[in-house]
């Protein structure tokens, strides 16, 4: 047991790039137990009973009490207290169970946004950073939904550059209050929240501080609801703080710790957003597949056409891949938390530290999950054809609601840059040894190429070799870029995007392969044929995408012999045996079509 804990403890964030992970080490969604499955069904029932039959009503915003009342219902079911510790009236669930809840609720359109803003960025700052009094005062009511929460970070001139906010807090003459003045925008749940987590700078501080602000404190006014492209039922307001008096005991954590809080809370928000996107994607696939089975053209259901099968297989494979990586990272976070708690750390601190440890994976998944969702809804519209473009059909809402996911919780551009930035910082601090593996790749590049296609024994032997090479390709390009630009790499955003794409594809392809390998060891290979096809199809795509991104990067900074050598290296490291992907996709699609829903 001790050994097992130590092995798990040894896994570090970002380490996947240089470490060969074994299938049994990762958590797969098929590992969920009976209780977790019951929770999954509970969330599905909640959406079916309370949400799906009134999506239009919710989006119309005609009844401002509707959304808060739905949150109340979610609160009655306990869905708002999953991350709140039991001693404060919550359920203190492990991270992956809260991920599962986020996934299912993720299919709930505007309700999903309201619920996740409340339970995530609204409640977690107090869970992780609140002192005993603050936790006792606020968490029990947040866990039941009696208090509803919002998070006020963004300002008109401060979005991605969050620390540049202008909102100020001044200590009152009697030293009892902070007086907050400023303007916040895009505040989810803003219209009805009772509690606002507000970020502001005290006096002339360089960094933000965070405050727990009750609406009842006064000095809060707001604009009308924003008119948005999607998630129209989610309350989004601009909020003004005019001499809002906040008792000094409502300063969250320490002065100037706000930016750190904001960043760390966003780590959770990112991976939860990714898994919610998986939930939204699954629902969209099920809806689109059923339409493809019903819609007849040329005397046959359009699901029988290869072009449609291609879409269904692609949608399904990418979601399966995203899901695999989300829960793998989720379990890493749980394992790290448990190891820290076992080592004597307080549970809130342990969770934060683990999330910070896996911040790279959180950012990777945010990008991947939201882009898969956008791909899925786009193809969903396409499968629906004319009806897809009609505002009367279900794809209209799915398409519009998906789009925000690439923007909030840090735009995908910011997140792409963050992944590489964090990776390099960890390498420089000596937390992650990228140097030796990168040098080894350099050496390999100069040596006689290895023409073997891998040890043919063992599950996915060839694919694993291809995957190892994919990581080498990433290390090669990243290493060269670092050497070339040194400290100025951060100015080369285009190259950073390319590097991030290689990293993302490597992580997700590996997670998919490992999930299927583990599944085969549990169910037997014969019972995982479709999953196996998906792992192979995804790996091919990942390699192709990484090769393309790598080429773009190399073109951007290399020339002459170096360019030629790197292109040769890239070609060598992104080689994979041919596979009839068309037939594989047909088998995947046929299975999904037969089941009539996303079946994994």
């Amino acid at each position: 047991m001790a050994t097992a804990t130590e092995t798990k403890k040894a896994i570090r964030g970002g380490e996947f790039l240089i470490r060969e992970t074994e299938a049994h080490e990762i958590f797969i969604p098929e590992d969920f137990n009976e209780e977790q499955k019951m929770i999954e069904q509970q969330c599905k029932d909640f959406l079916a009973k309370e949400v799906y039959n009134r999506l239009d009503e919710i989006d119309s915003m005609k009844d401002p009490k509707l959304m808060p009342s739905l949150l109340d219902k979610a609160g009655e079911l306990g869905l708002l207290g999953t991350s709140v510790p039991t001693e404060y009236g919550g359920f203190g669930m492990d991270f992956n169970t809260t991920m599962l809840v986020a996934e299912v609720i993720g299919a709930g359109h505007s309700v999903a946004v309201a619920l996740s803003a409340h339970t995530g960025i609204g409640t977690l700052p107090i869970v992780y950073y609140g002192n005993e009094e603050q936790k006792k005062k606020y968490l029990p009511k947040l866990a039941t939904g009696e208090y509803k929460a919002a998070y006020c970070l963004t300002e008109p001139d401060s979005g991605s550059d969050a620390n540049s906010g202008k909102t100020k807090a001044k200590l009152s003459a009697d030293g009892k209050h902070y007086v907050i003045n400023g303007q916040k925008m895009w505040i989810t749940n803003g219209g009805f929240a009772d509690i606002y987590i507000v970020f502001a700078k005290i006096d002339n501080d360089k960094n933000l501080s965070a405050f727990i602000v009750e609406r009842a404190f006064g000095g809060i006014t707001m604009n009308e609801e924003e008119h948005k492209m999607g998630i129209k039922g989610s309350s989004t307001r601009q909020i003004f703080f005019n001499d809002c008096k906040v008792p000094v005991e409502n300063l969250l954590s320490e002065r100037e710790n706000g930016f750190k809080i904001a960043v760390n809370i966003l780590n959770v928000g990112r991976i939860k957003l990714a898994v919610a996107a998986v939930g939204g994607s699954k629902k969209t696939i099920s809806t689109a597949v059923n339409y493809a089975k019903e819609r007849k053209q040329f005397n046959t259901a359009i699901a029988n056409f290869g072009a449609i099968k291609h879409k269904i297989a692609e949608m399904t494979t990418r979601v399966f891949a995203s899901e695999s990586a989300c829960y793998r990272a989720g379990q890493n976070i749980d394992d790290a938390t448990n190891a820290l708690i076992a080592g004597g750390m307080d549970s809130a601190k342990a969770k934060l530290k683990s999330l910070e440890e896996f911040a790279i994976e959180c950012a990777i998944m945010k990008v991947h999950g939201s882009e898969v969702l956008d791909f899925v809804v786009d193809e969903g519209v396409q499968i629906y054809g004319g009806m897809g473009f009609s505002a009367e059909g279900p794809m209209d809402r799915a398409y519009r609601d998906a789009r925000i996911n690439r923007i909030f919780e840090g735009t995908n551009e910011i997140n792409r840059m963050l992944t590489i930035d964090m990776l390099l910082k960890r390498a420089m601090k000596g937390q992650l040894d990228l140097m030796n593996p990168a040098m080894a790749v350099q050496k390999e590049l100069m040596a006689v190429p290895d023409f073997s296609s891998g040890d043919d024994a063992g599950v996915f032997a060839k694919e694993k070799k291809a995957l190892a090479n994919l990581k080498k390709a990433g290390l090669m390009v990243a290493g060269a870029a670092v050497q070339k630009f040194m400290m100025k790499l951060s100015d080369e955003q285009e190259v950073l995007m390319n590097l991030a794409d290689m990293l993302i594809e490597g992580y997700v392809a590996e997670s998919t392969l490992l999930r299927v390998e583990k599944l085969m060891s549990i169910r037997g290979e014969a019972n995982c044929q479709i999953e196996k096809e998906m792992a192979i199809v995804y790996l091919h795509e990942a390699i192709e995408n990484a090769a393309s991104a790598g080429k773009q990067a190399i073109y951007a900074f290399a020339d002459g012999d170096e360019l030629r050598l790197m292109l040769l290296g890239l070609k060598r490291f992104t080689k994979i045996d041919p596979y009839n992907l068309k037939e594989a996709r047909r088998r995947i699609a046929n299975h999904v079509i037969e089941k009539g829903e996303y079946p994994f």
Binding site: E35, K37, M38, Q42, D45, G78, K595
Partner: protein, 246 residues
């Protein structure tokens, strides 16, 4: 008061139905099982009564093999206090009713609720047989159930209307909507389900005299024929000679 709620473990309504062993057995591969939807209403009403009547306990009973336990635990999560599983394959209505009657006798329940019918074999007779075996009244399909002292006021759906009855306890009711709103288990319920008692008892032997010969899927629906609104003659002809319903 002691309430017994009998639940079935049935394929989800959207399941694809297949048979095995030369069409002599239902094939559960890949099928998701749920609490019978009518049983869900019965359970919800029992929980409502429990919540409004102090001292009430709700026991759920299922006749089934070990694989039905997740379904039973869901009923515990919804709010039942304890559960009994009669460890047997529920082969037919008489067999199941005999097992229920046996447990009901032993437990001394004042109210025995179940769905009006299961949604797998839909025989809809188990409540009547249980009532007969116990020598107490049985009513179905019950849409409304209000207790007052030792009697209950019931509304029952009948052809073209409703029948209002007053029944004295104990009795058996086969329930249907809108007797109560079906319940989603809350998180506390889910987390306490595994700690609630689930007793497994062996079945009593029964000579039921029923044996399954084979299963058959209903024929797929034929295509729709459109007849012009003013062609009544053709309509009558088709109803008479093709559909053979006139």
């Amino acid at each position: 008061m002691k309430i017994l709620v009998c639940i079935t473990h049935v394929p989800d309504t959207t399941s694809k139905i297949n048979f095995k062993d030369n069409n002599t057995k239902f094939d559960p591969t890949g099928v998701q099982f749920i609490i019978g939807p009518y049983d869900d209403y019965a359970l919800a009403r029992a929980i409502e009564i429990k919540e409004s009547t102090p001292g009430t306990t709700v026991t759920v009973l299922n006749v089934g093999l070990a694989e039905t336990e997740p379904t039973i635990r869901k009923a515990l999560a919804i709010g039942a206090d304890d559960a009994i599983r009669v460890n047997a394959d529920p082969t037919d209505s008489f067999f199941v009713a005999s097992q229920i009657a046996e447990q009901a006798k032993a437990g001394g329940y004042e109210l025995i609720l179940m769905g009006r019918e299961s949604i797998d074999y839909n025989s809809g007779v188990v409540h009547s047989i249980v009532g007969e075996m116990l020598g107490i009244p049985s009513v179905s399909p019950v849409m409304k159930l209000e207790l007052s002292g030792n009697t209950a006021k019931l509304a029952r759906e009948i052809e073209g209307g409703k029948e209002y009855l007053e029944v004295s306890l104990p009795f058996v009711a086969g329930c249907q909507e809108p007797i109560a709103e079906w319940k989603i288990p809350n998180m506390r319920g889910i987390m306490s389900a595994r700690t609630k008692p689930l007793k497994v008892v062996e079945p009593k032997s029964v000579n039921s005299g029923v044996a399954t010969q084979k299963y058959e899927l209903p024929k797929p629906k034929g295509s729709v024929k459109m007849i012009s609104a003013d062609n009544v003659k053709e309509l009558v002809n088709l109803l008479k000679n093709e559909a053979k319903v006139l």
